[in-house]
Point group: C2
Chain length 209, copies 2
């Protein structure tokens, strides 16, 4: 069988096709700026879902805050190992950033049990107690996103949140709540999102740096 | 803030809402059988994308072959660590199944370089040389799916393929090719799919067993 086997060629051609489809289905669609274009196209690349043209929202300072945190050895906290798996570790290592998914740690399980909260929430509580700059990357757990908002409101520091929990119970509401805060955010409004989309957003920024 | 915090309740309620939306947007939609319903709904659960109602296709013997392989200590080979992360390991361990993503192994890199093929293809070549029963779970790499088909045609044994590479270059074509073979398959026709969808399909079957 004959097929394109060069991963770099496949990626370049994929983004050309994505633009071609946008021209076709949404003539005149304008991205606000180059980085928004790169983020949204990478969300489409990972999902083949063009609804991200309409639902992906980036607050004014979010990209600059994320880049600044990444340039200052921040830690990325994900709510699933799947999101963590998808993020480009070579780039993060080169920047000297750390990356963690605390959700399955023993200490997280104990804290969740003790407090009667979800492990996703307990993982946020533990993360917030770490020193240093923080980006939360959440593709799954609305409860984690609510907990980040609660702790930010209580005075804990957060550099930015990639808030794209997918789902039918609390996901849309949690993202709407995030948009009402002063936290720099990137969200997928409504039900859509996911670990793949969360990782794609972070990678789009890493590749643009 | 008040929100549902019990993960089991969230899941039950999510599937009720999914059925409600199906009733609403596709009145009279009928699943072929209970396991197809569980698989498709779990794809929707992980993506919030109801297009899986139309594009998810399961060959006649696929589910039975997968269950049979899982009951006989098969190995699951994924094309990404992301797909591997998303699959329920507790269930696989209880069944005595193994699970591997070979794509980043040194031996895979060497073989890919030596042969001038993608690492995804080299990972399939190495997997095929293992003893025992095999399920391939592919959410990313059309080249891996083509390689599975080539090696099956050359006489290598494959129990089943969950073939849901997402993308714009070769993804749809690779899945169409799989549908033309005698390999038991579960595919997402067209461009959609992904590591999250691949894991969701395996989990739906594991939870139904």
């Amino acid at each position: 069988m004959e097929y394109i086997k060069d991963p770099k060629m496949i990626e370049v051609r994929s983004f050309e096709i994505i633009q071609g489809i946008i021209d076709d289905i949404r003539p005149g669609y304008k991205f606000k700026n180059e980085i928004e274009e790169k983020i949204i196209k990478r969300c489409i690349h990972t999902s083949a879902d063009f609804e991200y043209l309409d639902i992906l929202k980036i607050s004014e300072t979010a990209v600059q805050k994320i880049i600044d945190a990444l340039n200052n050895k921040c830690t990325i906290y994900t709510d699933t190992n799947m999101a963590l798996s998808g993020i480009n570790k070579t780039k993060l290592n080169a920047l000297g950033c750390e990356y963690k998914c605390l959700v399955a740690d023993e200490i997280t399980k104990e804290l969740a049990k003790e407090k009667g909260i979800t492990r996703s929430m307990a993982a946020v509580e533990l993360a917030m107690k770490d020193e240093g700059r923080k980006i939360f990357v959440l593709g799954n757990a609305p409860t984690a996103l609510y907990k980040v908002i609660e702790m930010f409101d209580a005075g804990y520091s957060v550099d930015a949140v990639v808030g794209v929990p997918v789902g039918f119970v609390g996901a849309a509401e949690s993202k709407y709540s995030l948009e009402q805060t002063q936290i720099p955010y990137i969200v997928a409004e409504g039900r859509k999102g996911g670990s793949n989309v969360a990782a794609a957003i972070v990678n789009a920024i890493l590749y643009a740096m």
